[in-house]
C-alpha cells in the first residue's frame, strides 16, 4: 500500500454558511429518488460469482431497505456507519498545548475490524467526503485489506459545486439501479475530490470506473 497522501484538492463553490440548517432540517425526512448507473454496475458485479454466500459491507447509515434488498439476494450484510462513528469525540485527543488530533489507530481498532479478504463488495457511498481528514486514506487502506481480490467497491463523490452544507445522505437501494436519498443534515461535507484525487486515493486498486450523473454527482466502481 502506498504511504498516506492527504494533499487532496479541496475546492468548492458555496456560501459556507451554517444558517441554512433550519431549512435542511425540514428536508431531512424527505427522500428523493435517483437512478444510479454505478449501483446498477455494482449489482451486476454481485451476481455471477460462485455458490458461496457473498458478504457485503455497507458503510453508510444503517438502512433497513438495503438490508432487505441485499438479503433477498442471498447476500450476508454487514453494516457499519463509519461517518457517524467518526463523530465520537472520544477519538479526539488533546495534547498539553490544546492541539487536537484524531486517534486514528484506536478508531481502526474499534471500527472496521475485520479479517483480511472478508468481503466481496463494499458500499462506501459518499463517506469519504464527510470523514475527518486523517481517516480518509487509512479508511481506503483498510477497505483494500478487507476486500477480496476482484472485490467491488461503490463510492460517490460530490463535485466542486457542492458546498459545506451539502447534507450527508442515507442511501436506500430500492431497485438494482435506483436509490432513494434521505438527507441527514447534522453532518457537513468536509471536502470534495476531483477525479485525479480519486484516482490517487484508490491507486492500489486494480481498476476505477467513473459514472458522471446529470447532477454532477460522480459514482465510481472500484475493483480490487
Amino acid at each position: 500500500m502506498s504511504s498516506p497522501n492527504h494533499s487532496f484538492a479541496r475546492w468548492f463553490k458555496g456560501t459556507g454558511s451554517a444558517d441554512k440548517k433550519t431549512s435542511e432540517d425540514a428536508k431531512a425526512a424527505q427522500r428523493t429518488s435517483r437512478r444510479s448507473i454505478g449501483l446498477g454496475e455494482f449489482m451486476r458485479c454481485l451476481k455471477g460469482t460462485g455458490e458461496e454466500k457473498l458478504s457485503v459491507l455497507d458503510l453508510g447509515s444503517t438502512s433497513p431497505t438495503n438490508i432487505a434488498f441485499l438479503t433477498d439476494l442471498g447476500v450476508r450484510v454487514f453494516t457499519e456507519d463509519i461517518v457517524r462513528a467518526s463523530k465520537d469525540q472520544g477519538y479526539v485527543v488533546r495534547d498539553g498545548e490544546g492541539t487536537e488530533t484524531f486517534d486514528v489507530d484506536r478508531f481502526f481498532k474499534e471500527n472496521l475490524s475485520y479479517p483480511e479478504n472478508q468481503f466481496d463488495a463494499v458500499l462506501v457511498w459518499d463517506a469519504t467526503d464527510y470523514l475527518p481528514e486523517p481517516l480518509v486514506k487509512p479508511l481506503v487502506d483498510r477497505i483494500y485489506s478487507v476486500l477480496k481480490p476482484h472485490g467491488t467497491l461503490l463510492a460517490f463523490f460530490h463535485d466542486k459545486d457542492a458546498g459545506p452544507d451539502m447534507p450527508y445522505c442515507r442511501y436506500h437501494i430500492v431497485q438494482p439501479d435506483t436509490l432513494e436519498m434521505e438527507a441527514r443534515p447534522s453532518l457537513r461535507l468536509q471536502r470534495v475530490f476531483n477525479n485525479r484525487h480519486v484516482e490517487n486515493l484508490f491507486k492500489d486498486f486494480a481498476s476505477r470506473k467513473f459514472f458522471l450523473g446529470r447532477d454532477n454527482f460522480r459514482e465510481v466502481i472500484i475493483v480490487r
Partner: protein, 186 residues
C-alpha cells in the same frame, strides 16, 4: 476545509443510546414504560406492565447466565448470556447488555454488545445501540438506531421490515415455572 459548526463537536450526538441515563431523551423513554396504557397506546407499555412479564429494573446488575420461561422486560445491566428461547425479551432504554442473547422475539431500546439470535423477530428501536451480529427471521430497524454488525436472515422466512410496525408480536402464554438465575462470576 470548512470550519466546524458547534454541533459538529457534540459527542456522538446522533447516538442517544450512549448517553447517560439522566439525559432527557432517556428519561422520557423510561417514563413511557411506566405510563398507564390509556395514556400511551404503545404496545411496549403494556408489555412491561403486564403481570405475566418478568421485570428487571435499571438498578439491577447481573453477571452470569440468565435463563427463563416467561417474557422479560430488562432495564438493568447484564454481562454474560441471556436465554429465553421461546419467549420475548425487551431491553429497556436503560439496559446495558454485554451478552449473547437468544429469544423468540427481541426488542432493543438500550445498548447491547453481543450477538443476538431470535427465532422470529428482532426490533431495533431508535434509541438503541447494537454492536454484534443478528440472526433472525425478521428484523425491524427504526431510523436512528445504531447498528454495527452482520445480519443473517434465516432461510425460508426472509423478512426485513423497512419501517417500524406499530405492534409487537405479543408474548406467548405465561409459564408458571419461572426460573431466573443470576450466578456470580463472569
Amino acid at each position: 476545509m470548512w470550519k466546524a459548526r458547534p454541533e459538529d463537536n457534540n459527542p456522538m450526538s446522533t447516538n442517544p443510546a450512549q448517553a447517560t441515563t439522566s439525559t432527557p431523551s432517556n428519561a422520557n423513554a423510561a417514563s413511557t414504560f411506566n405510563m398507564p396504557p390509556k395514556d400511551n397506546p404503545k404496545t411496549n407499555t403494556t408489555f412491561s406492565d403486564r403481570a405475566d412479564v418478568g421485570h428487571i429494573g435499571k438498578s439491577v446488575v447481573i453477571r452470569g447466565e440468565l435463563t427463563g420461561n416467561e417474557d422479560l422486560y430488562l432495564d438493568g445491566e447484564i454481562e454474560g448470556n441471556i436465554d429465553l428461547r421461546d419467549h420475548k425479551l425487551v431491553i429497556g432504554p436503560n439496559g446495558k447488555i454485554k451478552a449473547t442473547i437468544t429469544a423468540r422475539d427481541i426488542v432493543l431500546h438500550g445498548r447491547v454488545e453481543g450477538n443476538v439470535s431470535a427465532q422470529e423477530r428482532v426490533e431495533l428501536k431508535k434509541s438503541c445501540t447494537l454492536i454484534g451480529d443478528v440472526s433472525t427471521s425478521r428484523i425491524v430497524i427504526e431510523d436512528g438506531a445504531f447498528f454495527k454488525g452482520a445480519i443473517d436472515i434465516k432461510e425460508g422466512q426472509n423478512r426485513v421490515e423497512p419501517k417500524k410496525s406499530s405492534a409487537s408480536t405479543g408474548a406467548s402464554g405465561f409459564s408458571a415455572s419461572t426460573s431466573y438465575s443470576a450466578s456470580s462470576g463472569s
